[in-house]
């Protein structure tokens, strides 16, 4: 019997855990390795149908609405990915694959996108999905008076035409090789068309689950869609998503087995939760990162050397260890996560270097200067402590930092984008271009560092825009690598760390070996991707 046979026996339930480890040990495998092999094999087992899956999510508010244009929190993201589909989907590897689209073609300048739709897909009310539905669903986010949170993502779309009953052609004013990624955004759920407008009120989608009940801020329940077009997805019979905003309640719920999975496990207590033999802790390095934007148009941050001195005088290791309690990754002053495609892995990690920081400080003529750093728990949990840690390490480089504790209320309105240096967070975006467009390009609406002009910024903008329409992936990668170097070197953002998404999931639940990192809960598609073992 070799290890393959053992795995097979374990999968088929002929062996229990103890036997498996015993026999694996006989074959010369160390116990920890054997157990990891076992859990992988079990999770890779064929999904089974049935059961009611209950998840507790750390989001949700009484103000939630089924209108996809208003979605802003993880609860609604999960709901919309459960009952509706999008033209494209981000897979577990971070790549983009067609979902309601069947195939697509882009012109060489990446400006014209012809998207062929899947045929025979039905909405929950029995209506067949056609090009009209796609156009109405997209128009829901476009137009002058649209208040959609995703409006800016479609600004580049100058024309959208039905070129067949199951074909839509998009024309963009600027080429964008990542356009399919944008169409996978949770806002752009495909809803049935009703008299030329998207009908979101009824809550009909094409998804694997039909909304049974939706109570904003409390719960959403779903029943399996028997006509789901994906035959290998949606294994549960029923889904219940519960808003458990309070961390302790959430963790109590999974400890008491009242839910099968939770997200946002508190890093402080994750080791206690991990001791529970019926739970597995799943960590995924996500795109969420904590930043400290310095506004480069405000003195003294208009000085390159001062910015460099600040970036060098931060002990990133200490921040990851003390603020994220080790559940995160080091940041390199650019917003691209190590798990994303086109992340620059060649760039050396910037480390805490008080001597070099002193050198830059001297060059800036700012020795002994005092800088104000505005912070609040509103920016992220632990932001005040993070600022104090920065103050502490910076003092070793001769930089005095005055930590200003701002009120939580109105932080985004009164501090962020107003004060010269403050604490902030970014949930991250699936692609490099998207992230740059959101917060780093000169014409960005939320470029919180105000880093818009200057030789380095100009070069960065040119590179990022050129990369956007470059369909040759090698050339594109080279451009993005350089762009990340420029942001890291000259940009105003201090980005010391990326946080992990930590979930606790019952061992009764099977899931793909690699969870998607674009959102929590396996890209928020756990309802259709997971199953009962």
């Amino acid at each position: 019997m070799d290890i393959k046979d053992l795995e097979k026996a374990a999968k088929e339930g002929k062996l229990d855990r103890r036997d498996f480890i015993k026999r694996a040990a006989a074959l010369g495998l160390a116990a920890p390795f054997a157990t990891s092999l076992l859990s992988q094999s079990v999770h890779a087992a064929t999904p089974k149908r049935g059961g009611k899956f209950i998840m507790g999510t750390g989001h949700g508010s009484t103000t939630d609405s089924l209108d996809p244009a208003t979605h802003e929190n993880g609860f609604m993201q999960n709901v919309v990915y459960t009952y509706a589909n999008h033209l494209f989907e981000v897979d577990n590897e971070g790549g983009v694959i067609p979902e309601l689209a069947e195939s697509y073609e882009a012109s060489t300048d990446a400006k014209t996108w012809v998207i062929k739709l899947r045929k025979g897909v039905e909405f929950h009310n029995g209506k067949e999905m056609t090009a009209e539905d796609v156009i109405s669903s997209m128009n829901h986010h476009r137009g002058e008076d649209s208040k959609s949170a995703a409006k800016s993502l479609l600004v580049a779309v100058v024309e959208m035409k039905k070129t067949g009953t199951h074909e839509v052609t998009f024309k963009l004013n600027d080429g964008n090789a990542d356009f399919p990624y944008i169409l996978s955004d949770y806002h752009f759920a495909i809803m049935p068309d009703f008299k030329g407008a998207a009908d979101w009120q009824a809550g009909f989608g094409t998804g694997g689950y039909i909304i049974d009940r939706f109570e904003p801020g409390v719960r959403a329940t779903f029943k399996r869609n028997p006509n789901y077009f994906k035959s290998d997805r949606a294994h549960f019979d029923e889904i219940e998503t519960i808003a458990l905003v309070d961390t302790t309640s959430r963790q109590n719920a999974i400890m008491n087995r009242e839910v099968h999975a939770i997200n946002r496990v508190d890093p402080k207590t994750v080791h206690l939760l991990g001791r529970n033999p019926s739970l597995s802790i799943l960590e995924v390095t996500g795109t969420l990162h904590y930043t400290f934007p310095m506004r480069v148009t405000m003195a003294p941050f208009d000085n390159y050397d001062l910015r460099m001195a600040v970036k060098l005088s931060v002990d990133r290791e200490a921040l990851v260890q003390k603020i994220l309690l080790g559940h995160g990754a080091l940041g390199n002053d650019h917003p691209i996560s190590a798990t994303q495609a086109n992340h620059n892995s060649d760039m050396p990690q910037r480390a805490f270097d008080p001597d070099k920081a002193k050198y830059h400080l001297k060059k800036a003529g700012m020795e002994g200067a005092t800088l104000d750093l505005s912070t609040s728990e509103a920016a992220f949990s632990g932001a005040v402590d993070a600022a104090l840690l920065i103050k502490d390490s910076a003092s070793k480089a001769g930089l005095n930092i005055n930590v200003v504790r701002e009120p939580k209320d109105g932080y985004w309105a009164n501090v962020w984008n107003k004060k010269a240096w403050c604490a902030c967070y970014w949930g991250g975006r699936p692609t490099v271009d998207w992230m740059f467009t959101s917060a780093y390009l000169a014409d960005g609406n939320w470029t919180d560092t105000d880093w818009r002009t200057g030789p380095a910024a100009d070069k960065f903008n040119k590179l990022a825009l050129a990369a956007r329409s470059e369909l040759d992936s090698e050339k594109r990668r080279a451009m993005y690598y350089e762009a990340q170097e420029i942001v890291s070197d000259d940009g105003g953002a201090l980005i010391p760390m990326f946080a992990n998404n930590i979930h606790a999931v019952s061992k009764e639940i099977g899931h793909p070996e690699k969870l998607a990192g674009n959102w929590e809960f396996d890209g928020n598609k756990n309802a259709e991707r997971w199953w009962f073992v």
Binding site: D64, T70, G217, L244, V245, D246, A253, N256, A413, W446
Partner: protein
Amino acid sequence: MGLIRDNRRGGTVHPVIRTILQRLGLGLVTLFVVSLILFSSVEFLPGDFGEAVLGQAALPETVAAFRKELGLDLPLHERYFEWLGGILTGDMGNSFSGRGSSGGSDRSRPVIELLAPRLANTLFLASMAAIISVPLALFLGITAALYRNSIYDRTVNALTLTTISFPEFFVAYLLILGLSSFTKIFPSLANISPDALFWDRVYLTALPALTLTLVIVAHMMRMTRAAIINLMASPYIEMADLKGASKSEIILRHALPNAWAPIVTVIAFNLAYLVVGVVVVEVVFVYPGVGQLMVDAVTTRDVPVVQGCAMIFAATYILLNLFADIISIITNPRLLHPR
């Protein structure tokens, strides 16, 4: 003796009604003042609804369009009278949130629609807690007075004082640990749904109701005990004692009727607390009550909902106090003739 009392009662039917009407009028005036304070103080909250609901990433023009649509650009007094008029006709206006990003007010939900199911839940939990705690407190208070300074009295006092001294969330977590984690008797989540059956509701709300009971029982129990003990020194109790009445008879028939006033005041105070002050318990047990609604509304600057909740809270306080006043007056003839 009996004759004099009858005479007095016969002559004061009017004063009772008059007093009640007076209190009712005063309550309305209070409510009006509360509404004024409420409306103006909400105005002074920092931040902005548009920015709060549209998030960190909202564009300024999107926020401006939102504000205009919600009528936030109108002067303060205009909005106040419109709102007050609405409340008098049972219409609390429409919630700011839930407005379609591309649509008008037709898609936002009326405050009353948001509030009603939550209020029903809160009242259900409050009644559950009251049904357990009030008789329990009265029983413990009376028996503690009956066996004053005995081991029983001391134990009851020590226990209830212990539970009231712990913060609510701590009591809640202890109950979860004991009755949910270890023994699995009750669920730790009390997120009831609107169509839950009555007994399911009772089962689901057991732990929050128990938590609230533990938190409020001490106050009522000690007031009952103190009020009765206070009366035990009165000459008429001594008279009853000399007459040969048993101890329990003395307390139940002679002392208790005269002790109702302070007890009822404390009970009313605690009942009001059950309705307006249980946010922490709601959060711990994920109970969809008014408290959570109000907290959500405050964080998103959903002003009509905040005002609606606050008005209901104020009305609850005023009504329950009125109720306590009336009971005190009816049960205690001396209050009818203030000198």
